[in-house]
């Protein structure tokens, strides 16, 4: 269990500054998820915490102790990579035991810990196999098992599920959630692109943008009270409708945000109306794209699959309590 503090952390590659002063606190035992657009520095920040990349300036503390110059193996971390990064020539057992062996642990202790981790992940029957004899999902479980065997204070995950297919991704996501539940001692930091992973796994989410922290908060916080148009547009799927121009001016702001599930289709009392230009039927819900004269069509969620013909004109009424108003700088107005 480690309490992680980042104080004005910066990282430059040559002249290019990639991490531009990050202040962040990750509480002991917390599941923290980093999200952000591609290239914003999620992986870099994770690698700075791991020690695989050196920090240019700033201070990194684990439980108050300075970590900047410690090598990765002395930080008490374990890392799970997107590409699994198993040792191809070692069996599953040897893969999981490698770290303990290098740390000169006793044979019996190694066996006990590997077997416990294997049982936890239900890979006990695979211990004698080589990585190439495993499926993708099994490989990632072994990689997680290898991390568990290090008995780390901090687990670091860099997009661990993005090489898996959709069904397996859901299963492994549950596995990781369970792992976090079982190992309440360990702090976890998790990088992902995936909205659902972020919302379901995180205790708190940290949204990064161009090397800086944009907002930190619980998934509900970020969803309901985004601190900027950037976060509003980034968190949630489909993304929040952001309307500019005359429509926003009518509500006394520069940008008006409203989520698709907060717009009712109605005959009377309609605030906006427009033509349905596109519809996506997902079975449980239907998303209608309605052209109300803004730059982009407004997305409206409708439960069920009652079809509305393309080209039909509908009236829309946004729920006033769910409107988000932002000023010219993208900051919320209250």
């Amino acid at each position: 269990m480690a309490h992680i503090q980042l104080h004005d952390i910066r990282k430059s590659y040559g002249a290019a500054e990639v991490i531009k002063g990050v202040d962040l606190e990750i509480r002991a035992g917390e599941f923290m998820v980093f999200v952000g657009p591609s290239g914003c520095g999620k992986s870099t920040l994770l690698r700075l915490i791991s020690g695989l990349t050196s920090i240019s300036s700033g201070e990194l503390l684990f439980d108050g102790a300075r970590m900047n110059s410690k090598v990765p193996s002395d930080r008490g971390i374990a890392m799970v990579f997107q590409s699994y990064a198993l040792y191809p020539h070692m069996t599953v057992y040897e893969n999981m035991a490698f770290g303990m062996k290098l740390a000169k642990a006793g044979k019996a202790a190694i066996r006990e810990r590997v077997e416990r981790a294997a049982e936890m992940l239900q890979i006990g029957h695979l211990l004698e196999r080589l990585p190439r004899q495993l499926s993708g999902g099994q490989r990632q479980r072994v990689a997680i098992g290898r991390a568990i065997c290090r008995d780390p204070r901090v687990f670091l995950f860099d997009e661990p599920l993005s090489n898996l297919d959709a069904a397996l991704r859901v299963a492994t996501r549950l596995e990781i959630a369970k792992l976090h539940h079982d190992m309440e001692k360990a702090t976890m930091v998790y990088v992902t692109h995936d909205q659902v992973e972020a919302m379901t796994l995180a205790d708190r989410i940290c949204v990064l943008r161009d090397g800086k922290v944009e907002q930190v908060g619980t998934p509900a916080d970020l969803y309901e009270k985004p601190n900027s148009t950037f976060v509003a547009g980034f968190i949630g799927s489909p993304k929040m409708n952001l309307l500019n121009g005359a429509i926003a001016a009518g509500h006394g702001c520069r940008t008006l945000g409203i989520r698709s599930e907060h717009i009712d289709i109605t005959g009377e009392g309609a605030v906006w109306s427009g033509e349905v230009v596109h519809a996506e039927d997902l079975g449980s819900d239907t998303y209608l794209y309605v052209d109300i004269g803004a730059e982009e069509p407004v997305v409206v969620r409708r439960e069920g699959r009652r079809a509305i013909a393309l080209g039909e004109t509908v009236g829309l009424r946004p729920r006033p309590e769910n409107l988000h108003r932002f000023d010219a700088g993208g900051l919320p107005l209250h």
């Binding site: 695989l52 590409s83 699994y84 990064a85 198993l86 190439r132």
Partner: protein, 277 residues
């Protein structure tokens, strides 16, 4: 099966037969000849005419020949060892450590391997004399290592560059030092490449003639190719084809055995390393 299929198969079989014949025939002829003595040597025949071990006994009976074989074994083995040790560590640096002029260095290494042997012979000779290793095995080991290193380094660097960085990083997180990373993580993955380059270095050193001829002065320090070339017959004008062929067979067989042993492992190793970990 249609007529077309049949023609295709026949054509393929013919092509294979031709290739095998062309590549194996010279060696086959050498083997046959090595079992012949006297005037039979000069008759052209394509089937063995009986087995006469006279040539083999003659070769092995020569004082220096067994010694020459030992020289060759020692020199080729030491060359392979030195070249691989230097090449693996150099390849690690060239593929993993970022430093100024890395690209230039790699190009220089490649350029060195393009020099013809004869161009550097006199320079090398001076160096050998300066180091005081003329007429010792070390002269050959030094020069062969110099000549195989560029190729070995180049191949291993390309190979190592293709190994996923994450595997190395996983090992670092697990607490591995660079030496542990090289020996316990990279070597097992690299060894198909090492076997291949090592084998080529061995064959190169085993067959080399020019340096071996230049850097040795006495019968006991010669390597096998030189010894064979300098085998003399009963008179100055007679070339002892029988003994030459017997000697050639004796020194070729170990190479063939070596290749056959490692060939299976090369294939096994390649498939093991080629799969994404």
């Amino acid at each position: 099966m249609t007529a077309l299929d049949l023609t295709k198969k026949a054509g393929f079989a013919l092509a294979v037969a031709t290739i095998v014949t062309v590549s194996v025939f010279p060696f086959y002829y050498a083997v046959i000849t090595s079992f012949e003595t006297g005037t039979a040597l000069f008759e052209v025949n394509y089937l063995p005419q009986g087995f006469d071990f006279g040539n083999y006994l003659a070769v092995l009976g020569q004082q220096a020949f067994p010694r020459n074989v030992l020289n060759s074994v020692f020199i080729a083995t030491a060359t392979v060892g030195a070249a691989l040790l230097l090449a693996v560590t150099a390849a690690y640096a060239l593929s993993r450590v970022r430093f100024r002029g890395r690209g230039l260095l790699l190009m220089t290494i490649l350029a060195v391997s393009m020099f013809p042997q004869i161009a550097v012979l006199s320079g090398l000779f001076e160096m050998v004399r300066f180091l005081g290793i003329f007429n010792t095995p070390w002269a050959m080991i030094l020069s062969y290592t110099i000549f195989t290193l560029p190729f070995t380094v180049w191949v291993l660097t390309t190979f190592m560059r293709d190994l996923p960085v994450e595997i190395e990083e996983a090992a670092i997180v697990d607490g591995a030092s660079p030496w542990v990373v090289i020996t316990q993580v990279f070597l097992p993955l690299l060894w198909p490449a090492m076997v291949t380059t090592g084998l080529l270095a061995f064959i190169g050193a085993w067959n080399e003639f020019l340096f071996a001829l230049t850097f040795t002065a006495s019968e006991t320090t010669r390597t096998v190719p030189v010894a064979i070339a300098l085998l003399s017959g009963a008179s100055q004008f007679e070339t002892p084809w029988g003994t030459i062929m017997a000697a050639s067979v004796i020194v070729t067989v170990p190479l063939i055995v070596l290749v056959l042993i490692f060939q299976r492992k090369i294939v096994a190793g390649l498939t093991a390393g080629g799969v994404k970990g």
